[in-house]
Symmetry: C2
């Protein structure tokens, strides 16, 4: 088994066993859609705007990022969600009235309560009172929500929409003294994935877990912790703090190996049986390290960090969407999709597209 | 059908059809547990502390509340969660290592990200990396999470813990100029409900929906809306704003009727077949109005608003826990449990205990 320092971080945690999916009413992924701000922000744009001592070349070299999308004044989180859902339903030729449930893996909502997924229903002027809620699951949220969606369909639902991602630049763009450690890393994006009933089996295995030893390694302070610390609301309270970036790298690699092992053993498959491997790319380096650890050739995967940055729960669905739209992933292909997020939570799925 | 002004609020919304639970791997509620702050705060305590022109008698008369629990300096949200989960597992004689998933319907988390349910795992020093996440679903969250939990069990899980409620007094207790409209209403509480595999059918029907026309009638501002309004962080940003309390009353009554109709028609049952009716009691008046509308005698229900106040997603599970512990609900009894929350979201279940 691949050894990395990540092993030390799980010394007191036993990961759960993988269980078979006990399902006889099947689900499949019907379509995907994305919602992106129109404005592309380059490294040079950020350097100029914040007067930072750096060069585009150095940022590119150290992080792998070239540009990202940031929201403009005339755009909104609910607007991006509406774009993603509208595209997703249009591709599926499904009216929103057919949808039985909406689950949004949010970053920061418009309000703390209610769910921003309800704001989406209002924005789209939907006439059906579709059950909708948000989950808090950082970067692994879309994978966790897809797992829930396929179980909802197993229990009788026909269509479920899973939304992921968010707007991180709301705070960043108002920052006076931005933190150069994270300023270049994040981008705004929303993804939608429509799951629907299928009479054949598409989802082969599913595996989720938590490593709560890493609870405070990466977090957004905007919660009651602000009250306890008597903190003022500054824009920094809306931004992800990363205490140790190496831990993010090492635990992503370690967790990718754990998930691949569990999913493959449950499915009686080997990595050679997987046509495409999708994982969250919190940086080009983190993506490459996961591929190296699993010995997966780059042609069987994709990173979009260079053009979108870290888009939290959108990362894996964005890659999936791009692989479909460029004709690489074809109907019938076997996909292993995983994602790793703050908390730390990880999850993975093997499915036939 | 019962008519109330609530009907006007849904004129542009069509509620979803109820669907049968297509499940052949059954779940049941195994046990419940609660976590309460030790400190009881009376109306008089609040009147004295904030120097408010009111009397205990007037507050009791107008709201129905006598006291509520507020957290002390040596208590925490994670601590209350740990108390509730520990009691729940102890009653079930189940070790936490047997639990496959934890879903927490949160109010305000300690952080925005990660989930506070992961903070619970850390607090309890759990050795298993149990998948855990929070959902945002206001007062109806425990019912929504129980619906998800029974579907997770249908798909192979053995035990799922659903946690609800939160600490609202964190902000209230730091308030200098409290809003007398909501100051007396809320209390701190956490509930845990353990669902487990059963070889017989317990959950008979389930129905959830949203009325997004009420998206902005009740909300906690702590989200990106603060940035857009260039608002400072004051303690008010941590508190629930209720724009129109009558709408909360009227929509709760209207939704109770919709849910009861849908659940009963799907189950081929009548209200006479239901042994206990549990619903969220955001005030004694709202609880009574639901019973009146459905013509349910008070002996078949319970309100705990007088001693706990509005405890958000804890309300229905607190009542359920009390009815079990006082020997009223017995094994085999048919329970209709529902809840209504900001958003607006509502949900209901019929199950055999």
């Amino acid at each position: 088994m691949y050894q990395c320092k990540g092993g030390a971080m799980v010394s007191n945690i036993r990961f759960p066993d993988v269980k078979p999916l006990s399902i006889d009413r099947y689900a499949k992924i019907v379509s995907t859609g994305i919602g992106l701000p129109k404005r592309i922000v380059t490294n040079q744009d950020i350097i100029d705007q914040y007067n930072i001592i750096a060069s585009d070349r150095a940022v590119k070299f150290s992080l792998g990022i070239e540009e990202r999308r940031w929201i403009s004044e005339d755009e909104s989180l609910e607007g991006l969600m509406a774009d993603a859902v509208t595209q997703c339903l249009k591709r599926a030729k499904i009216e929103i009235d057919k949808v039985d449930k909406i689950i949004y893996s949010k970053l920061i909502g418009t309000y703390n309560i209610p769910s921003t997924s309800i704001g989406l229903l209002k924005k789209l002027k939907v006439e059906k009172g579709i059950p909708a809620f948000d989950i808090t699951c950082a970067c692994s949220g879309s994978v966790q929500a897809i797992d829930m969606a396929l179980k909802s369909i197993a229990a009788g639902d026909d269509y479920v929409i899973v939304i992921g991602g968010g707007v991180t630049s709301d705070g960043i763009q108002r920052w006076k003294e931005p933190n150069p450690k994270t300023l270049f890393l994040f981008g705004d994006a929303i993804t939608a994935v429509l799951l629907g009933y299928s009479n054949t089996k598409h989802f082969i295995s599913s595996y989720m877990f938590t490593n709560h030893l890493l609870y405070e390694n990466a977090f957004i302070p905007l919660g009651t912790t602000l009250l306890k610390e008597d903190r003022e609301l500054d824009f920094d309270t809306f931004n992800m703090k990363v205490i140790d970036g190496n831990i993010v790298l090492e635990s992503s690699v370690y967790n990718a190996k754990v998930i691949a092992d569990k999913l493959l053993s449950e499915s009686n498959l080997t990595l050679e049986d997987i046509d495409y491997f999708i994982t969250s790319d919190q940086s080009t380096k983190i993506w490459e390290a996961q591929l190296d650890a699993l010995n997966i050739p780059k042609e069987k995967s994709l990173s979009l960090f260079y053009k979108y940055g870290n888009t939290v729960a959108s990362m894996s669905p964005l890659i999936f969407d791009e692989l479909i739209n460029t004709g690489k992933i074809k109907k019938g292909n076997r996909v292993m999709m995983m994602a790793h997020g703050a908390g730390a939570t990880s999850g993975g799925l093997i499915f036939k597209y």
